[in-house]
């Protein structure tokens, strides 16, 4: 079932009071202009590997929970 986007978060920004403007679509400005590279893939693996280490060091998860979470992440490498 499709739903509408969430309402804007209530900002606490120290600026003069002024109604918030509508959301502006700036994707073209921010979008990456190049395809994924081998370096991107290497960095993605490192990014996920760091999460795996985070799981290994987690003081609250059980061994079974860690094994399941690590298996999930390894499937995404």
């Amino acid at each position: 079932m499709p739903i509408y986007p969430p309402p804007e978060p209530p900002l606490i920004i120290e600026q003069p009071g002024k109604p918030s403007s509508p959301i502006a679509d700036m994707r073209d400005v921010f979008a990456r202009k190049t395809p994924q590279t081998q370096e991107d893939r290497t960095q993605a693996r490192a990014f996920i590997d760091a999460k795996i280490e985070m799981i290994r060091h987690d003081p609250y998860m059980t061994d079974a929970e860690k094994a399941a979470a690590i298996a999930d992440l390894e499937s995404r490498r």
């Binding site: 986007p5 309402p7 606490i12 600026q15 921010f30 990456r32 994924q36 590997d49 060091h57």
Partner: protein, 312 residues
């Protein structure tokens, strides 16, 4: 048993064990030890662990930690000092994780917002990656986060867990003048980047990920990233991914003298199973817990559990 040349006798054996005479097996054990391969990794790990204990002792002040490390280095040499600078990814300097119940307690959509306290530069001993990141509870959402690499200019990056090409937006702070601002908390000004991201169903089995930055010039949110994809409710709500609220994700064993960093005003909103959004609410201690690996960071303050600032 007596020791040659010494008058002092050794202690008697511990009680509750049958015992006659003490036999000398030093030579046999020495021979066995000599045949056992040296495990250098174990030795390094042992040393590294001792250094970490000294460097991150929660009850020691900075001076006492430095003194403890100095004494260890003095005892075991330069190798010890080199070990502490080696990368150690996957730590949590400080931050919050959602409880399992809260992580899954949304219907068709979930959305997250916070102000990342992001000094430029990070200062101190940061010499590799360091992330200020968070998820919105969904298993296939985005991490829209601040990425440090040493003292270089930080970047705002988006890692999309729904994609096979996950690295998307990558913008240096030098291009974020309209988005970086300053807010006060606990009486002090902090440099912040307001970040909002969300994940919600836009059709049957189809979800949308979005990341937005607040434009402080025009006073409105700018959509900087969006991706639509197929997924199931189960994929979004099970598993470990999506469990971390704002955290300082560390890549070194020790941090020292870093500038103040963290997250302020963390809020979340969820929709019910009919697509009706609730209201934005501060992350609470009932819905999350604190994790802080001993990496040298110290709390400047923590507001349970929607804000924290640390330094080292």
């Amino acid at each position: 048993m007596t020791t040659d040349g010494m008058l002092l006798k050794g202690p008697t054996p511990p009680l509750k064990r049958p015992h006659t005479d003490t036999e000398d097996h030093q030579a046999r054990f020495a021979a066995i030890s000599a045949r056992t391969p040296v495990d250098e990794e174990f030795r390094k790990a042992f040393l590294r662990s001792k250094l970490r204990v000294a460097q991150t002792h929660p009850n020691f002040g900075k001076a006492a930690r430095d003194q403890a490390v100095a004494s260890l280095v003095d005892r075991v040499g330069k190798e010890a000092a080199e070990l502490v600078t080696q990368p150690r990814p996957g730590g949590v300097g400080e931050g919050f994780f959602y409880t399992p119940e809260f992580k899954a307690s949304w219907g068709l959509g979930t959305s997250f917002y916070c102000n990342f306290v992001c000094p430029v530069p990070p200062g101190g001993s940061v010499n590799t990656w360091l992330y200020l990141t968070a998820t919105n509870r969904s298993g296939l959402g985005v991490e829209a986060f601040v990425s440090y690499n040493g003292q270089d200019n930080p970047h705002f990056r988006v890692f999309d867990w729904a994609r096979s090409d996950p690295w998307q937006t990558d913008v240096p702070f030098t291009s974020l003048d309209n988005y970086l601002t300053t807010i006060s908390s606990h009486g002090n000004p902090y440099p912040v980047l307001p970040v909002w991201n969300g994940t919600w169903a836009i059709g049957s089995g189809t979800y949308r990920n979005q990341a937005l930055l607040y434009n402080n010039v025009r006073l409105g949110w700018d959509l900087v990233y969006q991706y639509d994809y197929a997924a199931t409710d189960s994929q979004q709500k099970t598993g470990w991914i999506g469990s971390w609220a704002p955290i300082v994700e560390t890549f070194q064993s020790l941090y020292a003298n870093t500038n103040k960093m963290g997250a302020l005003d963390t809020q979340l909103i969820g929709s019910d199973d009919n697509g009706l959004w609730g209201t934005w609410e501060l992350l609470s201690s009932a819905n999350s817990y604190v994790r802080a690996d001993n990496a040298g960071f110290q709390l400047v303050f923590l507001d349970p559990n929607y804000a924290f600032v640390v330094d080292s």
